[in-house]
C-alpha cells in the first residue's frame, strides 16, 4: 500500500497539518445541527481526508464501511428519458458522488438523483442521527444550471440531509451555493508542514531522511501534501540511502508537458504546431484534464520566457482557459493558445533579433 494511504489520518485527532480546522470540525460534529459545508482548497491539501475523518467522527466506524456502486438512474427530462450513470460510494450514513461526471447532464443528476436522495430520510436503526450526509465532489465542475438547481435542494431538505461539498476553487461555485454553506478553506500546507509530515512518515518507516532532502521534496511537490508523500515514496523505491541532492522524478505527464513547452520555444512553425497538436492529443487521451495541461504549459513557458512577454502570454492563457470552459472540444482551445503563443513569440524574436 502506498504511504499516502497508509499514513492517512483516520480520525480528526490524528490530523497533523490542519489541526485547528480539525478541532473546529470536531466541535461541529458534536453538535446536532451541523450546517452544510463547503471545503475548498487546492488539491493535495487534505480536504478529502478531513471529510472522511469528519464522517467518522459523526457516525463512528460504520462510516468507513462503504460500498462502491455504479448506478444508473432513469431521469425523465420532459421530452425524453435520460439514463444517467454514476459511481457512488455509500455507507449507511452517507453517499458520496461526483455529479460532474455526468457531463452536460449534470443538471439532471442534481435535479433528480440528489433530490431523491435528500428527500428520503435515512432509516437509522440505531437512531443516533436523524440525517444523512451527501458528499459531492468537484462542485466547481458543475455547470451553472446544476448549481442553480442545487441551491433549492439545499434549503428544502436541510433537515434530513446535510451536504458536504468539496471543490478546488470556490470562485467557480456560485454565490448562492456558497452563501448556503459554511465555507471551510483548506489551504495548501506550507513547506514546513510538509517536511513535518514527511519526517513523521520517515520515522514510522524507520528511514533516515536528510532534512535538506525533505525540504527539496516539499518544494518540488508544489505544496501538495499528497504529491510530496508520493514523491517521497517514489524516491524511496528509486534509491534508499537518501542523499540530499538526489534527483526527484517528475510526474510522467509533467515531463511530457515540459517537452511540449521546449518544442514550442525552439521553433514556431506550422509544422511544429502540428506536432504539438499530436502531443496535446496524446495528453488528452491519457486522461489529463485540459485545464491542467494549459496551466502547466503556461508554467513551463513562463519559466523560459522573457519578462516583457510574460504578462501578455499569461493574459492569453487565461483568455483561452476561460473559453475552454465555455466550449467543449478542449483541443481547439489548447491549440489556439499554442498558435497564439507561437505568433507572439515569433514576432518578438524577429523584432528583437531581426
Amino acid at each position: 500500500m502506498l504511504w499516502v494511504d497508509k499514513y492517512r489520518p483516520k480520525t480528526l485527532d490524528r490530523v497533523i497539518v490542519h489541526e485547528e480546522v480539525a478541532q473546529n470540525l470536531k466541535k461541529l460534529a458534536a453538535e446536532q445541527d451541523c450546517p452544510h459545508l463547503l471545503f475548498h482548497g487546492p488539491s493535495g491539501s487534505g480536504k478529502k481526508t478531513l471529510i472522511m475523518a469528519l464522517l467518522r467522527e459523526m457516525f463512528g466506524p460504520s462510516a468507513d464501511k462503504v460500498k462502491v456502486e455504479n448506478q444508473t438512474w432513469k431521469v425523465d427530462a420532459g421530452t425524453r428519458n435520460i439514463d444517467v450513470e454514476l459511481t457512488t460510494l455509500a455507507s449507511s450514513h452517507h453517499v458520496e458522488m461526483n455529479p460532474a461526471d455526468a457531463g452536460f447532464q449534470d443538471r439532471y443528476v442534481v435535479q433528480e438523483v440528489i433530490k431523491e436522495m435528500a428527500k428520503n430520510r435515512p432509516i437509522d436503526t440505531k437512531g443516533k442521527k436523524g440525517f444523512k450526509v451527501l458528499v459531492l465532489n468537484e462542485v466547481d465542475k458543475l455547470s451553472r444550471e446544476a448549481q442553480h438547481s442545487l441551491r433549492r435542494t439545499m434549503e428544502k431538505y436541510s433537515a434530513s440531509c446535510h451536504l458536504i461539498l468539496c471543490c478546488n476553487s470556490s470562485s467557480k461555485v456560485t454565490e448562492a451555493v456558497r452563501s448556503r454553506c459554511l465555507n471551510v478553506r483548506i489551504s495548501a500546507p506550507t513547506d514546513n508542514e510538509i517536511v513535518k509530515v514527511l519526517e513523521f512518515i520517515g520515522k514510522k518507516e524507520g528511514l533516515n531522511l536528510p532534512a535538506g532532502f525533505a525540504l527539496r521534496l516539499a518544494e518540488k511537490s508544489n505544496r501538495s501534501l499528497r504529491r510530496a508523500i508520493l514523491l517521497f515514496e517514489t524516491c524511496r523505491v528509486q534509491q534508499y540511502p537518501f542523499s540530499s541532492n538526489q534527483a526527484i522524478p517528475a510526474m510522467d505527464w509533467e515531463e511530457y508537458v515540459m517537452e511540449i513547452a521546449s518544442d514550442i520555444m525552439k521553433e514556431q512553425s506550422p509544422k511544429r504546431l502540428f506536432q504539438v497538436r499530436g502531443k496535446l492529443y496524446e495528453l488528452l487521451t491519457n486522461c489529463i484534464p485540459a485545464e491542467i495541461i494549459l496551466k502547466r504549459l503556461l508554467y513551463e513557458l513562463l519559466k523560459k520566457l522573457d519578462s516583457e512577454l510574460k504578462h501578455e502570454v499569461s493574459y492569453w492563457a487565461a483568455y483561452y482557459e476561460h473559453r475552454m470552459r465555455l466550449g467543449q472540444k478542449s483541443i481547439f482551445h489548447l491549440e489556439a493558445f499554442v498558435a497564439k503563443f507561437m505568433s507572439i513569440y515569433k514576432g518578438f524574436l524577429i523584432a528583437t533579433f531581426g
Partner: protein, 997 residues
C-alpha cells in the same frame, strides 16, 4: 477584334523569314505577343503557307505591322516594366526560339521544340491529304477549325454531329466563311472536349493536390501583373502545366487559363495544345510533349496571349471590317494557323459575327417553323419518340424492353399453377422498378417501350388516389383508382382474354411510387398484392430506391436504376434540339448547362426554352449567369467542400457559396478544417519571408475555430440553432478565408490530401480511457484506503503506482518481483485489466513505455500468479470474472463488494443481497482478526476455491443474469462455507445492483 487577331496571326505566319534576322528591338514585343506558342505554331504554318498560299500571305504584312505596333504600345511596355533582369535572360531565349534557326544547341528547349515542330509539320502535310489520319497533335487547333467548318458552315444542316470527321469540307460561300470564326472556338473546343473533357475537369479541379512532391515557390512570385483578357480568349486550347513557372503558382496559372476558357489537363496527350513550362525539367511531360510535338509555351507567352485578347477587345470595332475582306477570298485551308490565332484572341467577337451573318439565315428559317408549334413546351415537343432517342441508359431501356417482351410468355402462357414457382426465378419478377433522379427519362422510357411493344399504357401517378382498394363493392369500380387498378390487374377479360392477338395488351405504369403513402393508406402493400396476382405487367417508377417506404416493394420487383446521362450525351441532344429551334448555342455552353442542371434533361430543356425567348444566341456566360442561382443542390462530400473552401480561388467565392459549402455537413466540415488548416500556405499573405504572417494568420484562424466550438456548445446544449450561421462562419469560413492557398505537407511521407478530422477518433479514445480509468478508480475506492478523485488518480497517483507495479518486475528476481507486485495489486484491489490500463495510460508517444525492459517471461509469471491468487481475493468486482465466451457483459454493472469479511462469515448464508444492506457497526480490530482467520481458511481451501471458480465460469457463460448467479451459488453450496460465501458475495453484489435498477 477577332479580325485583328487573325491579322496578327497572319501577319506573323509569314514571318519566319522576316523574324529570322534576330532583331533586337522588335523581338521583345513580338515574343511578348505570341510567346512560345507562336514559335511552333508559326513555324509550322509557315511552311504550310509558303507551300500553299504565298499570295495570301504576302498581302498581309502591312496589317501585321499596324497591329504589332499597336500591341507594342502598351502591353509590351507594361511587361517590360514588370520584368526584372533575371527575366531578360529568359526572354532572350524565347526570342531566339522565335527567331528561327539561331542556336538549336544552346537552349535545349528551343532546339528540341523546333525539331518537333518540324516533324509535326511533315506529319501535317501528309495528314492534309489523308483526312482520316489527321491526328497529329500540333494540329489540334487547325483541326478544330476545320471541324467546325464542317459543322457550322453548312448553316442549314439540322443534324449535326459533335465530333466531325469532315475535316476537308471546304467553305465555299461567304456565309459559311463568316460563320466559321464563330464556330471555330466551338469546334476546336468540341473536338477536345469530347474526349478530354471529363478528364480535364477532373484533374483540373484536383490539380492542387495531385502533386505529391514539394514544389518550389516560383522565383518571382507575385511580381508580374496578371492581365485581364477577354473571357474566352483561350477557348479551345488544352494546356498542361509542368514544373515551376516564373511568377505564377501552378494553381494561379490553372485558374488563369480556366478563367479565359482554356482547359488544363494533368498529362500530355494528343489533344494537348500547349505545354506550359518555364524551365525544361526533362520530366515525363516534356518528353511526351516533344514526342507528340506539342507546342511549348512560357508563362510570359501565356500572359501575352491573354493580354493580346484584351488589346484586341478595344480595337475591335475598327478591325471588324478588315478581316472580312481578307478572309473572303481565301479558301479555308489556307488559314490553319490563323484559325488558331483567332481562337487566342478573337473569340469574343465570334458571336457578333455569328449573329451578323450566321443566324441571319438559320434562325430566320427556323423561326418560322418554330412559331408553328411553339405552343408545346419543349419538354413535350422533344420528348423522345423512339427508345433510341432516350439520352443515356440505353442498356437499361433494352433490359426493360426485354422484360416486357417476355412478360407474357413467362407469366401467362405457362401453366397458372407454376406461377408461384416462377416468381422465384432470378430473372423473372412480375414487376419492374425504375429508379433515378428526376428528369432523366424514366417515365418516358417506360412509356416508349410499352408503346413500341404495342402495350397500352395505363398510367397511375401521384395525382390519383392510390390507397388501399376498398373492399366494399358498393363504391363500384369507379369509386377509386385503386379499385380500378385491382380490376384492371386481375381481370383478364380486360387485359388479354379477349383475343390476345388482336386486342391491345395493357401495361400498368405506377408512377412516383415513393410518394405513395402520404395520403394513400396501405398503398404499397396493396400494390404488392396486386403484383402477385397481376395478369398484366406493372412498371413502378420512383426517385429514391432506398426509401424506407419501398423496402417491401423492392423484393418484388426487377430493379433498374437509371443513371444520369453524361454531360456530353446531354449536350449532344440539347444541341440537336437547339438547332431544330434555330438557336445558336455552342457546345461548351450546352455542356455547362448539362452540368449545371445535374443531369436533369427536363430542367435543361426548360431553361433552354426560357432563354430562347430572350435571345437567339446563347453563350457560355449567359448560361453561367442564368443558372448560377438556380443550379440544383448537389451533394458534396465534406472533403470536396473543404477543398473548395481552402482552394486557391476560394477568395472569389461568394459568401453564400461559402456558407453552402460549410453547411453541406456542419459537423464534419469544421472538423476537417480544424485538422487541416495548418497545412495551407495562405496565398493572401503575399511575401512572407520568415513565416510570421502565416503564423499570425494561423493564430487567428485557431482562435476563430475555438469560437466555433463555443458557438457549437450554445447550439447543442441550449438549442440556439439560430447561431448556426455564426458557428459556420467562425469555424469554417474565417479560417478558410485566412489560410486558403496551396496545401503543403508537414510530415515526411504524408500524402498531400486533407486528412480526416482527428478529433473524432481521439475523442473516442479519450472516452474509452476515461472509462477504463473510472473502472480502476472504482477498484481503488473499493479498497477503502483512498478517497481520491479520478483526476487526482491520474495526475498524482499514476506515476508512483506504475512505478510500484513495474519497477520490481524490472529489477528484482522473477519470483520475488511477482510476489511483490501481486501483493501490491491486491492491496489496492487492482485487477489485471487495471494493470494494463495503468500501463496504457502512462504511455506517451515518443517516450519509453513503462513496460520496456520487462521480460515477457516475467509478465507471464505475473499473470499466472495473479490468476492463481484471484480465488482468494476478498474484494471482488463482478467484472473481474472474465468469461471465456462472453465478453464483458457485466462491464457496466460494476459493483464492488465492500462488506467486511467477518460480517459475511458471521451472517452470510447464501443471502448476499441482505449483505449489502447490512449496516451493523463493527470495530476495525475485529475485522482485522477476521481477515486473518479467513486467510488461513482460504489457504486450506484453496483447491476447493479453484473448483468454485470453475463452476462460476461455467454458469456465467451460459447467461449473465440472475439465474446464473443463482445457479452458481447453488452449485457452490456443496463446497465449504467460506468458498460459498465468497462466490455468493461476488455474484450477489452484481445481481443486487442489477435488481436495484
Amino acid at each position: 477584334m477577332k479580325q485583328h487577331d487573325k491579322g496578327a496571326g497572319n501577319g506573323n505566319t509569314p514571318k519566319p523569314k522576316a523574324v529570322e534576322k534576330p532583331s533586337s528591338a522588335v523581338p521583345q514585343s513580338d515574343n511578348l505577343v505570341v510567346g512560345g506558342q507562336d514559335s511552333s505554331g508559326r513555324r509550322r504554318t509557315s511552311k504550310y503557307f509558303a507551300d500553299k498560299e504565298k499570295k495570301e500571305v504576302e498581302g498581309l504584312p502591312e496589317k501585321r505591322k499596324s497591329e504589332t505596333a499597336d500591341l507594342r504600345a502598351s502591353p509590351a511596355k507594361k511587361v517590360n516594366k514588370n520584368k526584372n533582369e533575371d527575366d531578360e535572360d529568359f526572354v532572350l531565349s524565347t526570342t531566339k526560339k522565335v527567331s528561327a534557326d539561331v542556336t538549336p544547341s544552346k537552349k535545349l528547349k528551343s532546339g528540341s521544340g523546333r525539331a518537333v515542330a518540324k516533324k509535326s509539320e511533315e506529319l501535317d502535310e501528309s495528314g492534309e491529304d489523308d483526312i482520316k489520319e489527321m491526328k497529329s497533335n500540333s494540329k489540334a487547333s487547325e483541326r478544330g477549325r476545320g471541324g467546325r467548318t464542317g459543322k457550322t458552315a453548312p448553316g442549314g444542316r439540322k443534324k449535326m454531329v459533335i465530333d466531325d470527321e469532315s475535316d476537308e469540307d471546304e467553305p465555299d460561300d461567304k456565309t459559311s466563311q463568316s460563320v466559321k470564326p464563330g464556330g471555330r472556338g466551338r469546334g476546336g473546343r468540341g473536338s477536345s472536349t469530347a474526349s478530354t473533357g471529363g478528364r480535364g475537369r477532373g484533374s483540373g479541379g484536383r490539380g492542387g493536390f495531385m502533386n505529391f512532391g514539394e514544389r518550389k515557390d516560383p522565383p518571382h512570385k507575385g511580381e508580374k501583373e496578371i492581365p485581364e483578357g477577354a473571357s474566352d480568349c483561350l477557348a479551345g486550347f488544352t494546356f498542361v502545366i509542368s514544373g515551376t513557372l516564373d511568377s505564377l503558382e501552378r494553381e494561379e496559372a490553372e485558374d488563369l487559363i480556366k478563367r479565359h476558357g482554356g482547359r488544363v489537363t494533368g498529362s500530355v496527350s494528343k489533344k494537348t495544345n500547349f505545354l506550359l513550362c518555364d524551365e525544361d525539367i526533362e520530366g515525363q511531360k516534356s518528353r511526351k510533349a516533344k514526342e507528340l510535338g506539342t507546342a511549348f509555351l512560357t508563362e510570359d507567352g501565356l500572359l501575352d496571349m491573354i493580354r493580346k485578347s484584351n488589346k484586341s477587345n478595344t480595337t475591335k470595332s475598327e478591325e471588324l471590317k478588315k478581316p472580312v475582306d481578307k478572309v473572303l477570298p481565301s479558301p479555308k485551308k489556307t488559314y490553319p494557323s490563323s484559325a488558331a490565332k483567332n481562337q487566342v484572341g478573337g473569340l469574343p467577337s465570334k458571336s457578333t459575327v455569328a449573329k451578323g451573318s450566321g443566324t441571319g439565315i438559320t434562325s430566320a428559317k427556323t423561326k418560322s417553323q418554330a412559331t408553328e408549334q411553339s405552343l408545346l413546351p419543349w419538354t413535350e415537343k422533344y420528348r423522345p419518340k423512339v427508345p433510341n432517342d432516350i439520352v443515356g441508359n440505353q442498356s437499361l431501356v433494352k433490359q426493360l424492353h426485354d422484360w416486357l417482351l417476355n412478360w407474357n410468355d413467362q407469366f401467362l402462357n405457362s401453366g397458372s399453377k407454376s406461377k408461384g414457382k416462377k416468381q422465384n426465378d432470378s430473372g423473372a419478377k412480375k414487376a419492374v422498378l425504375l429508379s433515378g433522379t428526376p428528369g432523366i427519362g424514366k417515365t418516358t422510357s417506360a412509356k416508349l417501350v410499352s408503346q413500341m411493344l404495342g402495350f397500352k399504357a395505363v398510367e397511375v401517378n401521384a395525382s390519383d388516389n392510390r390507397g388501399k382498394a376498398d373492399s366494399k363493392i358498393e363504391k363500384g369500380i369507379g369509386g377509386s383508382t385503386a379499385n380500378s387498378i385491382q380490376v384492371l390487374v386481375t381481370n383478364e377479360a380486360i387485359s388479354n382474354k379477349i383475343d390476345r392477338s388482336e386486342h391491345q395488351k395493357t401495361v400498368l405504369i405506377m408512377d412516383e411510387v415513393d410518394g405513395i403513402s402520404a395520403g394513400d393508406r396501405g398503398g404499397v402493400s396493396d400494390l404488392i398484392a396486386n403484383i402477385k396476382t397481376s395478369k398484366i405487367p406493372i412498371i413502378c417508377i420512383c426517385n429514391d430506391r432506398y426509401s424506407q417506404k419501398l423496402k417491401s416493394l423492392v423484393n418484388h420487383c426487377l430493379l433498374l436504376s437509371f443513371r444520369k446521362p453524361t454531360k456530353q450525351q446531354m449536350a449532344k441532344r440539347l444541341l440537336h434540339i437547339a438547332n431544330a429551334e434555330g438557336l445558336q448555342v455552342n457546345e461548351i455552353a450546352l455542356e455547362e448547362l448539362a452540368e449545371r442542371v445535374n443531369g436533369d434533361m427536363r430542367m435543361a430543356l426548360n431553361q433552354l426554352q426560357y432563354m430562347s425567348l430572350s435571345m437567339s444566341v446563347i453563350k457560355y456566360d449567359d448560361i453561367r449567369q442564368r443558372l448560377q442561382g438556380s443550379s440544383k443542390d448537389e451533394d458534396i462530400s465534406p472533403f470536396t467542400a473543404v477543398d473548395k473552401l481552402f482552394g486557391f480561388n476560394s477568395g472569389k467565392l461568394r459568401m453564400d457559396e461559402r456558407i453552402d459549402l460549410s453547411m453541406s455537413d456542419p459537423d464534419l466540415v469544421p472538423l476537417l478544417i480544424q485538422e487541416n488548416y495548418i497545412n495551407y500556405r495562405p496565398s493572401s499573405v503575399g511575401k512572407d519571408d520568415n513565416g510570421l504572417k502565416r503564423m499570425s494568420s494561423i493564430a487567428r484562424a485557431a482562435e476563430s475555430i475555438a469560437d466555433g466550438d463555443i458557438f457549437n456548445v450554445q447550439i447543442r446544449r441550449y438549442r440556439q440553432w439560430q447561431l448556426s450561421q455564426s458557428s459556420v462562419l467562425s469555424s469554417c469560413i474565417i479560417p478558410a478565408a485566412l489560410l486558403h492557398g496551396q496545401r503543403e505537407t508537414l510530415e515526411q511521407g504524408e500524402r498531400n490530401f486533407n486528412r480526416f478530422g482527428g478529433w473524432l477518433g481521439k475523442n473516442s479514445t479519450m472516452g474509452k480511457n476515461y472509462r477504463l480509468l473510472e473502472d480502476m478508480h472504482v477498484h481503488l475506492l473499493a479498497s477503502r484506503d483512498s478517497y481520491l478523485g479520478r483526476s487526482n488518480l491520474r495526475l498524482d497517483y499514476f506515476t508512483p503506482l506504475v512505478k510500484h507495479l513495474t519497477e520490481p518486475l524490472r529489477v528484482l528476481p522473477k519470483d520475488e518481483a511477482v510476489e511483490k507486485v501481486v501483493e501490491f495489486m491486491d492491496s489496492y484491489s487492482i485487477s489485471q485489466e487495471d494493470f494494463d490500463t495503468a500501463v496504457e495510460l502512462s504511455k506517451f508517444k515518443g517516450r519509453p513505455t513503462p513496460m520496456d525492459g520487462i521480460q515477457p517471461a516475467v509478465k507471464a509469471a505475473l499473470t499466472k500468479a495473479y490468476n492463481k491468487g484471484s480465488s482468494s481475493r476478498v474484494i471482488r468486482t463482478a467484472d473481474m470474472v472474465t468469461l471465456p465466451g462472453v465478453k464483458k457483459v457485466l462491464r457496466k454493472r460494476v459493483a464492488a463488494m465492500l462488506e467486511p469479511v467477518e460480517e459475511s462469515l458471521a451472517e452470510d448464508n447464501g443471502e448476499p443481497l441482505e449483505e449489502n444492506e447490512n449496516s451493523d457497526a463493527e470495530d476495525l480490530e475485529d475485522r482485522e482478526t477476521a481477515e486473518e482467520k479467513l486467510q488461513s481458511d482460504l489457504a486450506d481451501l484453496k483447491l476447493k476455491g479453484i473448483e468454485v471458480q470453475v463452476d462460476l465460469k461455467g454458469s456465467g457463460s451460459s447467461s449473465a443474469g440472475k439465474a446464473s448467479s443463482g445457479r452458481g451459488r447453488g452449485r457452490s453450496r456443496g463446497s465449504s462455507d467460506s468458498a460459498e460465501k465468497k462466490v455468493g458475495g461476488g455474484r450477489g453484489s452484481g445481481s443486487a445492483s442489477k435488481r436495484k435498477r
